[in-house]
């Protein structure tokens, strides 16, 4: 009985401590938004690809002059190796990836990281319905027609 009491006390302390430590971890406030300008090949499919993205600030103004940003492509299912590349600015707040590759068919999450005015930022968007080499029809319930979804 004393072991159980001790265990419960320790667990309650763990819960309390972790709740106090941080309210919502990993939720970096980002005032940067990213829009996918183009994806090559179009529609996107498994294999090497080139993404062009426009970064915007909270007022919708394009973010120019950052030089390069890090782009991570990952998937909705955990456990996959993300694709992490650099994207260089080609002007007017548009950044182009180098050596990006869709390694699997499905829905991709694109995370852009960089530094702006000395502050790290992170912005996310999605590319849905990356196809395998074969052409696939639309699936009911899962809107996977190739599209990009800007996310603030």
């Amino acid at each position: 009985m004393s072991v159980i009491r001790l265990l419960i006390s320790v667990l309650l302390l763990v819960v309390l401590a972790s709740s106090l430590a941080v309210c919502q971890r990993g939720q970096r406030s980002s005032e940067v938004m990213v829009d996918i300008v183009s994806v090559e090949p179009s529609p996107p499919q498994v294999g090497p690809a080139e993404l062009r993205m426009r970064l915007r600030d909270e007022r919708g103004q394009t973010l120019a002059g950052l030089g390069s940003v890090e782009v991570e492509g990952t998937m909705s299912h955990a456990g996959m190796k993300p694709v992490i590349v650099q994207a260089r600015e080609e002007g007017d707040g548009v950044y182009r990836t180098e050596n990006f590759e869709f390694t699997m068919a499905g829905d991709w999450i694109i995370i852009v990281r960089g530094t702006r005015n000395g502050q790290a930022f992170e912005a996310r968007t999605t590319i849905s319905g990356v196809r395998s080499s074969r052409q696939l029809p639309t699936t009911p319930g899962h809107d996977h027609s190739p599209k990009v979804t800007p996310t603030p």
Partner: protein, 483 residues
Amino acid sequence: MTAQKAHRHRTLGSWSDLQHWPILGPWLRWRHARTSAQAVLLILALLVLYDGFFGPPLAPKNLAGVLPWVHWRGLVVLALLLAGNLFCFACPFLLPRRLAQRLFRPRRAWPRWLPGKWLALVLLVVFFWAYEVFDLWASPWLTAWVIIAYFAAAFVIDGFFRGAAFCKHVCPIGQFNFLGSLASPSVVTIRDHGVCASCVTKDCIRGHVDSEGKLVQRGCELGLFQPRKVGNLDCTFCLDCVHACPYQNVTVRLRLPLMSELDPGVNRSGIGRLSNRPDWMLLVLGLTGLGFLNAFGMVSPVYQFLSWLSQTLRITSEGVLLAFIFLGGIGLLAVAAMLAGLVTSVLTGAPSRWWGFQRFVYSLAPLGFGMWTAHYLFHFLTGALTVVPLTQNFVFDVFGAALLGQPAWQLASLLPMNTVYEVVIFMLAAGFFGSALWALALGRQLQLGFLAVLPWLVLHMALFLFGVWLLGQPMEMRGTLLG
């Protein structure tokens, strides 16, 4: 038994008795061994809950997206294959359940109108349907709610009904583990039948009481009476019987997987004859079918099939279409198994047309478990190392400093992709051979000819080839994006 045989038996017995092993043996004999293992998993579960509710919405960046769906599932099947039913042993959901039993002292029996595994079977199918429809793997938040539901269900059910009602009749994970543990190399069993024959208190089932009549150690709450217990079905490895036996006559022993599990006609304590248990038969069919359907849901052709089905049935609801696929898939397997059983019955001149089905349907279990193992090991072997950057990121977010270094997001796979593919095919093949050997050994035991067993071998082969095709398909991950 000759002196030589007796000596060999003692030697093997000593080596195979895990309680005689250094370190492990004393730990297994320690009364709080299970609680200590449960505490570890409870802390992990609390971390997963915390991150599921308060962490990043992206599954790959969240402990609730990674630990349950990549690591826990992979480690469960590995443990079942290499050791035993370790997850049930260390199940954290049973800690609040134990609290409920102390608080409410339940005396009600599990309702007779809901016997056996029927409820667990329905919950299994509903869970895997929900897994696909709501993309549970892609939502840390929903994953956290599933875990909360588990804790709550164990607390409420075992606070209301006596015994281990939750484990025996409700828990879908437990049923998965019971069937997986058929292939496990260990079993909780007795050392000496003579000791049990002379025992009058039967503490292993009734529990151990002290001189004042107070219960100081529970017996088996799942109703498995050790002297008549056969194999691993319904055994949670809780070790209550080990601690309750006043003669230290119950232990955990190594064994040859499957060999003691083959005969569905044998009377198992707490279960009866498997050949008389339609709920167990459907559980085997359901878990085998779900193993293939769950893997089918992750490959590209499923979307073509869904599209075709949608146009054919003129149904656009994904939930309804998936329900058709789930029920249709399991139904198709059931019909194939019944046909195989019918042929076996006819060829053997059995008194009932169900005779063949009732005896041989259990031979599907290794193949079903082989498919689950292949699927779960695929995710584990391709993503096990993601826990490293995830932990680094978690520590960074919580403490505000990279105490474990910057997240190394490039870490993911344990093995090269080609090797992973070979491993998963090997697992499926091992399941196929397990099923085929089960059918052949049972046929030999029942003195049937090869032809009577052949329909089952054909069914095993068809499923195996379907599995090989499935595992060779390109994976396609679709699901809830950005939480």
